[in-house]
Symmetry: C2
Subunit: 182 residues, 2 copies
């Protein structure tokens, strides 16, 4: 799935500017299963407009920069709906945390413990934001997705909490040894 399709998906529900699309895809309701940055969104919107899948107009507000609001066309809606019939790509899970954990045995226990605690805190924040989203959202599909996120990330959190001591035990308990490793 590319950023152009993501833009069409967001615009399928309501008009939005590039800034708003990025917010939704990195902080809002889409943030836990897609990601997109300015560097891909703005070119994508320009290309979608040149292809006639979206239109745009400038909106000016008092005391704020002018906004270029994009709206999906009927052709755009059709293109997007058709894309939903394509086979799905595999989910992507990439974890620098697990990569780090794999090398616990050559790292100081102190560092391993710190990273584990950071990861736990991050997951707590994430789950808290999911719970907040769940309360605020009304679409039942979105609730289904958010509950999925809460369950899956909750399990990851619990695993780390329950097994962190094992990983710390594999690390270098002697600060001297880890100094030498540097």
């Amino acid at each position: 799935m590319n950023v152009r399709t993501l833009c069409l998906a967001i615009l399928y529900d309501k008009e939005a500017s590039g800034y708003e699309i990025r917010k939704m895809s990195t902080e809002g309701e889409y943030s836990f299963f897609v990601e997109a940055s300015y560097g891909s969104i703005y070119p994508a919107l320009q290309r979608l407009e040149s292809e006639g899948l979206v239109t745009s107009h400038i909106e000016t507000h008092e005391g704020r920069p002018a906004k270029k609001v994009y709206k999906i066309t009927e052709t755009g809606r059709e293109t997007f709906r058709n894309s939903l019939f394509e086979p799905l790509n595999q989910d992507v899970f990439r974890s620098e945390f697990l990569f780090f954990a794999r090398f616990a045995s050559i790292l100081p226990a102190e560092l391993v413990e710190r990273r584990l605690n950071e990861r736990l805190a991050d997951l707590d924040d994430l789950i808290a934001s999911f719970n907040k989203m769940l309360k605020e959202c009304s679409r039942s599909e979105d609730q289904w997705l958010i509950r999925f996120g809460i369950e899956a990330h909750g399990k990851a959190r619990d695993y780390i909490a329950q097994h962190k001591q094992e990983l710390i035990a594999m690390a270098q308990s002697d600060p001297e040894t880890s100094q030498a490793a540097e």
Copy 2:
């Protein structure tokens, strides 16, 4: 984390060719938390060699193409160990499946059910491969990682299995309606 660092990580344990590094990172023990393709691995290895972090030699085998085997240098080991002290980037979870699920209400129930079953089958395969890896692997850090994968993906699997009917119910039960949506 970039592909150069990933190469150093794999070469930290043992010598390997570009082909073998790609295999490990997309099919083997690294595959569930990193990913790398030929298009990034080969240039990465060339650059690592030019920087003196790895060396290479050609190995010829009867009845097989010649292999360019890379070996990490002491400088390479040091560089890699130091990189493990850097702050960790956030984990990445991207799901085209969840993206698809969000639009269940405009899709035919038949398609939604098919995709849910495909996803369940994929997760079963993944978990089966984790269990196989767990039996074969000896490093306790790797076992810690693999058990994490089994738990987290198992929970995802269970959620889908238990709640799939809810999502199917949100879809278009009438084949005519979904035809019109196309």
